[in-house]
């Protein structure tokens, strides 16, 4: 780590300590920087913490859903609830998909775009999520991978990844409903971009596997 090196170098250089100590304004500047830095870091850490902690709470809500509760909210004032569990067996990934692909929902988990069929139903279910939290795993998803959707009734539907494309945010045709039962997973691209808000989207298309035997109870 470069800053550490710099620090170390300075400390290993006692001769420089003879120079005039830092003036008071510098101290305040440093303290101010400390504050702003902590604030900034905290904000970033907070987004991540929120994203992952929420999934733990949502897991409990999902188990209530499996026991028949409708729209089981993960916390009492939540305005979203889990609608499905998304499993990528090869990567060992599990995510709880929330109702609504709006900004407030996908802070806590991948969101199901309302207006499209609930994942597991017939048609094209669109799921959106953040490329740096819940859907970060999409970069490792390969054509042919299996994806599983666990529905609120406990049954599972198997999908097979067919394709992944980098598209523009205006390519809303990916939400078209014609065609077989499938999942369309949307996240931002490129994966390593530092800032949010770019125009590109990474879209993974997974179609229902033809072989649907032994869905119930299979786990990757």
């Amino acid at each position: 780590m470069k800053p550490d090196l710099a620090w170390g170098a300075e400390c290993a250089w006692p001769a420089r300590a003879a120079e005039r100590p830092l003036a008071r304004p510098w101290k305040y500047l440093a303290l101010g920087l400390l504050l702003v830095g902590a604030l900034q870091f905290g904000q970033g850490a907070w987004i991540q913490a929120k994203a992952w902690l929420a999934q733990a709470l949502i897991a409990q809500a999902w188990s209530r859903s499996l026991h028949g509760e409708k729209e089981a909210k993960p916390w009492p004032w939540a305005d979203t609830w889990p609608v499905a569990r998304l499993i990528a067996p090869r990567l060992g990934i599990e995510r709880y998909v929330l109702a609504g692909a709006n900004g407030s929902a996908i802070a806590f988990g991948p969101g199901h775009l309302s207006g499209t069929p609930v994942p597991g139903e017939a048609g094209n279910s669109v799921i959106g999520g953040h490329r740096d939290t819940h859907l970060a795993f999409l970069r490792h998803v390969k054509s042919g991978d299996e994806l599983l959707i666990e529905r609120a009734d406990g049954t599972r539907v198997a999908y097979q990844v067919r394709d992944a494309l980098v598209l523009d945010k205006r390519d809303v045709w990916v939400a078209k409903q014609e065609g077989p039962r499938r999942l369309t997973l949307v996240t931002c691209f490129p994966f390593d971009a530092l800032r949010a808000g770019g125009p590109q989207r990474y879209v993974v298309f997974a179609f229902e596997s033809r072989n649907r035997g032994g869905e119930r109870g299979t786990r990757g």
């Binding site: 870091f41 775009l113 499209t116 959106g128 931002c188």
Partner: protein, 727 residues
Amino acid sequence: MELPEFFAAFALSGRQAASAGAWNARMQTQNPGANARLIAFDLIAFVALAAAIALSAAVVLIAVVLLLSGRAEASPPGEENQGTLLLRTTDGKAAASAPLLSTDVSFRVSGMLARARVVQTFHNASADWVEGVYVFPLPENAAVDRLQMRVGERLIESEIRERAAARQVYDQARAGGQRTALMDQERPNIFTTRVANIGPQELVAVELEYQQPLRYDNGRYSLRFPMVVGPRYIPGNLRVSATEQLGWSWNTEQVPDAARITPPVLRPAAGPVNPVSIRVALDAGVPIAQVASPYHRVDIRTVSPSRREIELAAGAVPANKDFELTWAPQGGGAPQLAWFTEHKDGRHYGLLMVLPPAAAPGARLAREVVFVLDTSGSMAGASIRQAKDALELALARLAPGDLFNVIEFNSTAQTLFADAQPVNPRNVRRATDWVQSLHARGGTEMAPALRLALDGSDGSARVRQVVFLTDGAVGNEEALFRLIRERLGDTRLFTVGIGSAPNSHFMSKAAQLGRGTFTYIGRIDEVQAKMGELFAKLESPVLKGLEVHWPQGVTVESWPARVPDLYAGEPVVIAAALDRLEGEVRVSGTRDARPWEARVPLALNGSGVGMGSLWARGKVDALIDSVREGAPEEEIRRQVIALATAHRLVTKYTSFVAVDKTPARPSGAQLKLAAVPTNLPEGWEYDKVFGELPQGATDSRYAMLTGALMLLLALSTLLARRGRRFA
């Protein structure tokens, strides 16, 4: 960054600062001299601290974050919010087999009535046999009472049938290769025509006629002709259904017929389609002062002082915005009353208009005004500029002593103030700044905004008025009407239709149920005048308790059954069916505790045509309104069908169907189904309406990286200073 997010981060950094301070103090006491080992210890301690900061960040977050954030997310989100995607099944290009459509409209206006003939020509330019489907608007109060199909020189008259039965006739004729036309009503202002078996390079025209009372308001008559159904926001979850998908939206739980009211929309770059020509033969009955067409350039020919002939200057224009024609009688001498009748099938049908004298300025009542601004994607472009201007004008017009609030909505709704605030320069300033900062994007979830604005309060000391600025581009009107009806209480709702193609059905019905009134702003230079008229209505005393007393011994059925309160500049308009024209009708009401009354001798009538259709249309409206109030729908449906069949009216339950007896399409030839594409309304922005894919990234890494860099920089500066002190 959302506010709670900010506080959480702030609390966290405070804690970090404290721990850093404690660390400093500790370091000072443990600082005997410049010892290399101690410096090494410093280094380790620093790294540990850096880790501790990160850790404490996580720990504090674990405790606070979810709690705070959860509440935050329940309230309208800020920057995390993104445009809501409208599910679109078309890609903004026309289907190859879609027939070309052109429309010719001619109006005959006499006095307070207009009769329109709308000719829609379907031109099949392809080499296939085609079935074309065209979704188009008409005025929300149009009584469509005739439809003919023209094939070459032949005109084929249509029949009025119950909707499903008409469809059956149409399907049968289509399968048999006969040319056939069907007209359904989807909303009071949205209709569909279907024409089947149009041969290659062939023309088939649908010619429909309707009757409409003119709007009279503030001394001017106006005739409005909508040309395009603007893309509507369709709320709700998808419902797997429809056998054929012609609209850009799939049906949803909240809008089960979404596919039928969302004709494919061309990207503006694909060029304008659907040319419309308009001719108006205007006979005002009294000398005309001035005729104006605010949205289209027209040629006006003066035939006589009371008659004009008007034509579009361009000949034909693309169907992409409402046409409006307004005129004022000379010298402001509007007739104080008018009474036209038609004798048909042994009954007299009449239309009565009474204009109360202008209101004297009454005592000012304390008001609470709530402004609701639609900031959805369909408002992007010219509409939001008009709406913001109108709203700013309204804010400036507020009087001290009044209370006010502002609500904006798109995918979610939010209020400026938690509660209505007193009008003072600071609050008005704040509201103006806030309104200026709003952007139009996202969906049109109107219900939450209406819930915020209509609190159902009753018996408040203030006059509570809601001014609702929107284009009404939604598909779930009925649910919203029910909401308004349930929660209105003492409040009055005034709709302001914004933009080039507002949803007139929403504007007028919401105002009717909200016991207010509606106005339209279609251009930025209309804002001043139109809002001025609206303010006059909001501020002047209302003519209340209106009653119509028909002479004894005359059997009368009249609509509306309960005459609504009248605002400044509005007339009483009543459609009636009578068995005899004897005696006089008396209209009475009170304004500002002063009684008002007008008498009209029934025998003193002008004769006209189409009054029967208007009366029946008024009754159909009243019947359908009664379903909202709890009447059994099946019973109402039967009544509407009987009434509409007798008067040959298109309603939501009855349709016109025309069949050419001679089969045209050879049995071997295939029939291709295609929807006629429509233009995007003028001034709208395609990408804002049809949305974008959800955004899928956070700034967390950026924030953590820059934050960590800043922390390290700060700490190294501080430690370097300390290091020097060791020496």
